[in-house]
């Protein structure tokens, strides 16, 4: 196992002027690379196997989300938000709905708020599960953890599908509520899935948390200091692993999160292992929230009767709305000029900004560690490039 002192010894040899000795190797990793989580590219300069420079290259999935959003109506952007971070369409929907509700001053009925919390926490569960599968795969555990992760994900996708009609692209939330109500059978089924999830996590953790290879590959690798994390606008589990207690569910208390009792797991060292552990603990907290929400959900309407979908024209003005997505702070910034289309439609993509200090985390590590560090950032290219 690496200790901190050993880790910082790994530095490229430098001559007097500070440039590395010997021939450097420049590698373009990606956009087609099995471990870059989509079409992401890193231009890496190596001294032997040690990373001395790393520049991320973006744009291979830049599909003009913002430009399209400015040319279509407010409601028409809702299905596009599904395709931002395509693993977590429900939280994307919520972030956008929340922002427009703020802009138009719409209220959300009680039952819809509960449904939103349930959907968001289910999304968090499946996102974190899949992420751990992916990033353990980056370490060389091909197949098996992914199989486990996807097995559980399918159960949650079944729930999404039965209520919204689509597995991944749910397009479920609307301004002032949610599209369709959930049935009692659905709630019972969800209770069952959530009840079993703890057991799955125990099983998953038995294989991974104290696994010697995982410990050796992740502890004190890719350390991110607290101050740098704050300055670089890192959000989500990445930030909390660095030791900053900042969770928008607690800070903004959007929706009805103030009613739930849950803890915010915070890391200590800011290394990959902490990021893994924060995610596992966050899933356990999500299960707590879900159990509570499923027990408390009241009956009632799911749409604000004042909200109208056709011919929706909010008054002029601008708002910035944000939620705690599974990957970090997902924000929408809208400027309305009173027309049916937003004048400016901006997405604040958490995984794009979390990549800011990828180079700082990778410097001095081996190239194979760079792959794991990237895996621990949790990026989805649909959101990075938009």
């Amino acid at each position: 196992m690496n200790t901190p002192s050993q880790q910082f010894e790994v530095k490229p040899k430098l001559d007097e002027s500070g440039s590395p000795i010997g021939e450097l190797l420049e590698i373009s990793m990606g956009p087609h690379h099995p471990s870059t989580h989509g079409v992401f590219r890193m231009d890496v300069v190596l001294d032997g196997e040690t990373v001395v420079k790393l520049k991320p290259v973006f744009g291979y999935l830049h599909r003009n989300h913002e430009k399209i959003g400015e040319n279509i109506s407010y409601l028409a952007s809702m299905p596009y938000t599904d395709r931002l971070d395509y693993l977590c369409s429900m939280t994307n929907n919520w972030a956008y709905a929340l922002t427009v509700e703020k802009l138009a001053g719409l209220a959300v009925p009680e039952r819809a708020e509960y449904i939103r919390v349930i959907m968001a926490e289910l999304t968090r569960l499946q996102n974190h599960t899949c992420l751990i599968g992916f990033f353990v795969q980056d370490m060389g555990a091909l197949g098996t953890p992914m199989m486990y992760a996807f097995r559980e994900r399918e159960k949650i996708l079944d729930l999404f599908e039965s209520v919204s009609g689509a597995r991944m692209m749910c397009n479920y939330m609307r301004f002032g509520g949610v599209r369709v109500d959930v049935s009692d059978e659905w709630l019972a089924e969800t209770k069952k899935v959530v009840g079993d999830y703890g057991k799955f996590l125990d099983e998953f953790e038995t294989f991974l948390t104290e696994n010697e290879i995982l410990l050796a590959r992740t502890q004190f690798v890719g350390v991110m200091p607290k101050e740098l994390a704050i300055s670089a606008s890192i959000t989500g589990p990445m930030l909390r692993a660095a030791g900053v207690n900042y969770d928008l569910r607690k800070v903004d208390k959007y929706g009805i999160y103030s009613r739930f009792d849950f803890k915010v797991p915070v890391g200590e060292h800011g290394d990959i292992y902490d990021r893994y552990m924060v995610r596992v603990l966050e899933m356990r907290e999500s299960i707590k929230i879900l159990t509570r929400a499923l027990a408390d959900i009241p009956a009632g309407p799911v749409m604000d009767p004042k909200a109208k979908l056709r011919g929706f024209r909010p008054k002029a003005g601008e708002v910035y709305g944000r939620v705690e997505g599974p990957k970090g702070e997902l924000g929408f910034y809208l400027i309305s000029d009173g027309s049916p289309n937003p004048y400016r439609y901006r997405v604040r993509p958490p995984s794009f900004i979390n990549l800011t200090i990828l180079e700082d985390m990778c410097l001095g590590h081996k190239i194979s560690d760079a792959v794991v560090i990237l895996g621990s950032v949790d990026i989805v290219l649909g959101e990075v490039d938009r």
């Binding site: 973006f58 606008s233 601008e318 708002v319 910034y333 800011t356």
Partner: protein, 227 residues
């Protein structure tokens, strides 16, 4: 947190020669923003970050907005005396708003858990004077977002460590997120309900559209005559 007026007063006291404006926001739940002169923006931002009461250590969102030159029409009611009778007449006043690019920063505090303060910077025009100071030296989180604004809007950030195109390729010319950008016409004709696509296709294949339509019509006639 203090009100925006108090913050404004404190900035003007601490950072010399600063002129700030508070821009209204018609949306009741939205935040008003502080318009900062480009020349003093760096000092103002540094004050906001380091001030003990504010400590805005977290720059959440940086975004560009394009405001092309437009004519704003405002209707004003006026009382006019026509033939001895006083009448109320509506008059339209046209004012020309000069075009500019705007960069918006949303600042929060992670230490004190408050925010946001919305900071706006404006360029002089949209053509040649598009320089603004980069705030990346203060908040590293602005690095990629400022690069993105450079790429898509064409704002040049002075003092940015690595100002290159980020999403489009390097050979690309133009700034696609500007309101007057014309995307390449590479649509084919297809039966679709989107009228705009049809218009695009017509622009792109004006000759072929008519020629092919004429030949198909002829062929159809022939076919119907010779079964």
């Amino acid at each position: 947190m203090e009100t925006l007026e108090q913050i404004k007063a404190r900035i003007e006291k601490s950072v010399p020669l600063t002129k700030l404006d508070i821009l209204p926001n018609e949306c009741p739940l939205g935040e008003r923003s502080l318009l900062v002169e480009a020349g003093r923006a760096f000092d103002v931002a540094k004050f906001l970050r380091d001030d003990a009461q504010l400590r805005l250590d977290y720059c959440s969102n940086v975004t560009g907005v394009d405001w092309p030159e437009t004519v704003i029409k405002t209707k004003v009611k006026k009382k006019v005396v026509v033939e001895g009778v006083e009448k109320e007449v509506e008059e339209t006043i046209e004012t020309l708003r000069s075009g500019h690019l705007e960069v918006v920063y949303h600042l929060y505090s992670m230490a004190l858990k408050h925010g946001p303060i919305v900071l706006r910077l404006r360029t002089e025009n949209r053509a040649d004077k598009t320089h603004l100071p980069s705030l990346t030296p203060l908040w590293r989180g602005a690095e990629f977002q400022e690069r993105e604004i450079f790429d898509l809007y064409g704002v040049i950030f002075d003092g940015h460590p690595d100002l290159r195109r980020i999403l489009m390729w390097d050979e690309f010319v133009g700034f696609p997120m500007r309101k007057d950008y014309v995307a390449p016409d590479d649509f084919e004709y297809e039966p679709t309900p989107h009228d705009e696509v049809l218009v695009e296709a017509k622009k792109h294949y004006p000759v072929e559209v008519d020629a092919v339509a004429a030949t198909t019509a002829n062929n159809l006639n022939k076919e119907s005559m010779n079964p």
